[in-house]
């Protein structure tokens, strides 16, 4: 039995639209040292990031920062990362902002694994040397639980709005929240993650569920017992001799309630067929060909057809193979009768 996890949908819904945390001010103004590290590491030889003349020739008013560096300016760096790791190791992470609350709720729902799925950046204007960035983050959306390839999870989208002020303004000593009100929006970034339950993805559910069980009655038990014994049994009226399938209490020809069964050779021809595409049930493989077989003994039977649906044509000879699907259920599967070809 799977472990039962709580559903925090209501608590999560209240977090949508909330700030993820406080407004952050970038530790440094846009500067050519960080730009140089970036373009060298990326192998980017576009000259507009370091050469003023080239930037002007390309239509910019001055050297610009690579647009894709947007988030790099507000990254908190090594000291922050090490402090955070130390706090985690000591079990003293004390954060109660909306983002931490959201992550804790996901964890409590059993969704302890995380993967980033999308990152969408939009640039309102280029960043120039001396721009000081502020970022305001909020939780934009939290999805309902979904079955994904990786596992059962929720998607969460954060919206980060980037603002710029001059370095002078940034150093006047007012709070980041207050600075945002005087700042210019320069870009946005939407970041989407999937928090999922480990081990519940596509690779974890390859074990197919069993086929649905037939409803066994006094009338049809002999048929399913026969299949388990390797016999294809067909109901037979002991008064008029008519064969009938599926099993019924009485004979449709003479109304007699007396019956026994005969064991079919399992040979016949395809009388009609359908290919089931929808709805799909996990216990079956699709496309799913289903045949109506006219048995040589003289009655018809609905059964699985083997192989490519396209390979079957009405009137073709078919032979049954009785196959055990599990300990309880055996069923006939009809394949092409090779001995009767041509």
């Amino acid at each position: 039995m799977p472990t039962e996890f709580p559903d925090h949908s209501d608590a999560l819904a209240k977090l949508v639209g909330e700030p993820s945390g406080p407004v952050e001010l970038s530790p440094e103004a846009v500067n050519s040292a960080m730009i140089r590290h970036w373009v060298e590491a990326m192998g980017d030889r576009n000259p507009v990031y370091l050469d003023r003349e080239a930037a002007r020739a390309a239509g910019y008013r001055d050297v610009i920062a690579p647009q894709t560096m947007l988030q790099a300016w507000i990254m908190k760096g090594l000291r922050h990362t090490l402090d955070l790791e130390a706090a985690r190791a000591a079990g003293t992470v004390a954060s109660n902002d909306a983002n931490s609350t959201m992550m804790a709720l996901f964890d409590d729902e059993g969704r302890t694994s995380v993967v980033a799925t999308n990152c969408d950046q939009s640039y309102v204007r280029p960043l120039y040397l001396g721009d000081r960035l502020l970022v305001r983050s909020s939780i934009e959306a939290i999805s309902d639980p979904k079955q994904t390839g990786l596992g059962h999870g929720r998607f969460a989208t954060s919206l980060m709005e980037f603002f710029a002020v001059s370095n002078e303004v940034a150093e006047r000593g007012v709070s980041a929240e207050e600075l945002v009100s005087q700042a210019e929006l320069v870009g946005t970034m939407r970041f989407r993650i999937l928090k999922f339950r480990p081990g519940t993805g596509a690779t974890a559910v390859v074990a197919k569920p069993p086929r649905p069980r037939p409803a066994i009655t006094e009338d049809n038990a002999f048929y399913f017992e026969g299949l388990r014994a390797g016999e294809l049994r067909i109901q037979h009226c002991t008064d008029c001799g008519t064969l009938r399938h599926p099993p019924l209490p009485g004979c449709g020809t003479c109304t007699s309630l007396n019956w026994d069964y005969v064991v079919s050779e399992g040979k016949g021809e395809l009388y009609s067929m359908v290919v089931n595409h929808y709805p799909q049930v996990p216990a079956f493989d699709y496309p799913l060909p289903i045949g109506l077989i006219e048995l040589d003994e003289g009655t018809r039977l609905v059964a699985n057809l083997e192989g490519d649906p396209e390979s079957w044509a009405i009137g073709q000879r078919a032979t049954a193979e009785i196959r055990a699907l599990d300990d309880e259920l055996s069923l006939p599967f009809f394949h092409h009768d090779d001995t009767q070809e041509d």
Binding site: D44, N46, P66, Q67, A72, M75, L78, C119, S122, Y123
Partner: protein, 145 residues
Amino acid sequence: MAMTSSTLEVGLELPELSIPITRTLIVSTAIASRDYQDVHHDHVLAQERGSKDIFMNILTTNGLVGRYVTDWSGPTGHLQEVNIRLGAPNYPGDTMVLTGQVASVEEGDGTSGRATVTVAIRGANGLGDHVTGTVRLTVPMGANS
């Protein structure tokens, strides 16, 4: 010659860019983006955390996608948007091959002198698609357009 919108049409393919995924690339780009998470520079810790090796961070994927498009457009191509969907990780020893195709060219009313171009991009490595997405940029309109 700077690229102009008059030479662009929907379906035009960008030249392919093959990027060898070296440890130097993964580590230097992670540090250049101020991302010090150990999975991007310490393979022992990365393996302890269940990854087969260190792997490229997302800011770098963004940076390389942006570079791929401006390598093609030249300096007069101005990036407006980079939208990416992430897939298989970039591990050391692999190669990411970036391909792209012009998806739309919008000249608007022409007053800005620039057209907006959307490019669909894909970066595939040995495991599958590392990244797919779209990049929007503006380029100068052609003299005759």
